[in-house]
């Protein structure tokens, strides 16, 4: 079953076409990897889907519901969670409090919200850091915090913007494992990722963008051998 259908989605900022006629769909329970060079429109695409930026034209359907142009809080309330490229933790609050804010969406009672938040924090392997303020956590830990916070709203679809971006090499495998673990819970994932090896490892499908346009969409193997993708993004990948 298709959880997300995007048709001819476009957005311009002045004369710049951030996204042009982008179409794709996502199967429930799968991972879609989004790749493209800097400025390809990947993060803008996330903002358009999650309502943070109003699209100019096109259609966005979450299951059968049209979510085109709906406000971000309403879209998240339907079950679309997200993380941000530039991390946005609630810096002066503890990790537990950060996740509890998300958990309150499903749990009205403070004790139950706290228990749920603790379970998710345990899931992302940060249980010992639960009382640390977000600003005290490392970048990798803050990435986990954002994932935990987004999971707390019990999303059906989770959009993750550069999970492994800005972290050291030692931290990356743990984050990749966490994404796989997340997929096993049944949640559908769309992830923007620059590391092509990770994309090939975790994705069921890959969407490649360049200059705001879709240049390829398909299984990782196909994308890896797609000439347009190689020219625009992978460069010498096949020769390596």
């Amino acid at each position: 079953m298709k959880i997300l259908t995007v048709e001819n989605l476009s957005k311009s900022f002045g004369g710049i076409h951030a996204n042009r006629d982008i179409s794709f769909d996502v199967e429930e329970g799968s991972i879609l990897g989004v790749i493209g060079p800097n400025g390809a429109g990947k993060s803008t695409l996330f903002d358009l889907i999650t309502g943070f930026t109003k699209p100019d034209t096109g259609k966005v359907k979450f299951f059968d519901k049209n979510i085109f142009g709906i406000s971000p809080d309403k879209i998240s309330n339907l079950g679309v969670g997200r993380t941000f490229q530039k991390l946005k933790p609630f810096a002066d609050q503890t990790l537990l409090e950060n996740v509890m804010i998300g958990a309150f969406v499903k749990e009205k009672d403070i004790k139950r919200a706290r228990d749920r938040a603790l379970e998710i924090i345990d899931f992302v392997d940060l249980i010992e850091k639960r009382h640390h303020f977000a600003k005290e956590l490392s970048t990798g830990q803050r990435k986990r915090l954002e994932m935990a916070r987004a999971m707390a709203i019990d999303p059906k679809l989770l959009l993750m913007d550069e999970v492994t971006g800005g972290v050291d090499q030692k931290t990356i495998p743990g984050l990749v494992e966490l994404v796989k673990k997340l997929k096993n819970t049944g949640v559908t994932i769309i992830t923007i990722e620059h590391n092509i090896n990770i994309i090939m490892e975790i994705s069921d499908n890959v969407l490649a963008l360049d200059q705001g346009k879709r240049i390829a969409f398909g299984e990782p193997k196909e994308i890896q051998n797609n000439k347009q993708v190689i020219d625009a993004y992978l460069g010498t990948f096949d020769a390596a």
Binding site: S76, F90, D92, A150, I153
Partner: protein, 337 residues
């Protein structure tokens, strides 16, 4: 189940430091007992002003400290509260105990009406807009004949002390207890708010509105809720102040200085912290009162110089206010390592 998770779940939700609870209980008992030790009129007045300003600052703390919106026109809600009680008592003989709630209600309505367009603005723009709103209330009341225009209202005095009219001529002690009760109730309710789902969500709005939106939080609505709560806390102080001095006019109860003072008190004590306004009021109000006594009518503005100096020192060395001198795990939310 993971044992670390089990341990985490078994922790108490809130830090219940028995020593701190005992100290607070002791202080509350002391505050109730103080007038019994023959406090003179000046000290009763001083404490009344501390209670009043602490509540006013707490009101500002809810909108600025909890939801992150800097309002510079909060004096408007103080004035609305003051006029509501005085006008309805004088015109219709309605007891202030009822019209206090009317003042709260009207303030809440105005907060919604002002908040819907204004809270779309952010940062400095919201602050400037509220500053102008505050001033416009003063201008309107200066010209509104029904409420005495620039001369204001002289509350009809009762011949004797009267609890129903909230007027006490023989001693300030009853006023002391009335203000004390409002002070304690307000602080308890704001303390509860800070620990509620609403409190968590307001802090999310303050810290990062975009992240809050991604967590199903309608940021605009929550800002309006905070503004309404804040206005409804401010209004009763205007009502009680009117009954305390029995004469109100636009220059006194809609004065821009009210909006500035509550900001100073909160910043000095610690913005975003329930205890901050108490500490701020306990320090700034005596400075203001003593400078008024020793340096003339308005304190020769020396109190304002003090405020400015203290504020500069705080901003440079203690941006989180004086409350930051107290270890966080004592008064703040639980944080264990």
């Amino acid at each position: 189940m993971d044992s670390k998770l089990e341990i985490a779940k078994s922790e108490p939700i809130w830090n219940t430091n028995n020593r701190v609870i005992s100290i607070i209980a002791g202080l509350v008992i002391l505050l109730f007992a103080l007038p019994l030790f023959g406090m003179n009129s000046f000290y009763l007045h001083l404490f009344i002003m501390i209670f009043m300003h602490a509540v006013m600052a707490q009101s500002w703390n809810v909108i600025a400290g909890f939801s992150g919106q800097i309002s510079l026109g909060h004096g408007a809600f103080f004035g609305i509260g003051a006029y509501a009680t005085s006008f309805f008592y004088m015109e219709y003989g309605i007891t202030p105990w009822i019209s206090i709630f009317f003042g709260m209600f009207v303030s809440g309505i105005f907060a919604v009406l002002i908040g819907i367009p204004m809270l779309r603005l952010s940062g400095h723009y919201f602050a400037i807009a509220t500053l102008l709103i505050g001033i416009s209330f003063q201008v309107v009341f200066q010209r509104w004949d029904l409420v005495g225009a620039a001369s204001g209202l002289w509350v009809t005095m009762t011949p004797e002390d009267s609890w129903s009219a909230l007027q006490f001529h023989s001693s300030k002690a009853p006023y002391y207890y009335v203000f004390l009760m409002f002070f304690l109730i307000t602080f308890f309710l704001v303390w509860l708010l800070s620990r509620s789902k609403l409190g968590y969500r307001l802090r999310a709005v303050r810290d990062d509105p975009q992240a809050a939106l991604s967590l199903c939080i309608n940021v605009s609505n929550y800002k309006i809720i905070a503004y309404v709560i804040s206005a409804m806390i401010m209004a009763p102080m205007g009502s009680l102040f009117a009954q305390y001095i029995l004469i109100i006019d636009p220059d006194r109860v809609f004065n821009i200085e009210i909006s500035i003072i509550v900001l100073l008190i909160t910043v000095l004590g610690g913005i975003g912290n329930v205890w901050g306004p108490i500490i701020g009021a306990a320090i700034l109000v005596p400075i203001s009162e003593y400078s008024r006594i020793y340096l003339g009518g308005t304190g020769g503005a020396v109190d304002l110089i003090f405020y400015g100096l203290i504020l500069m020192i705080i901003c440079i060395f203690r941006p989180n206010g004086l409350i930051s001198f107290i270890p966080k795990d004592i008064l703040e939310r639980k944080k264990q390592r």
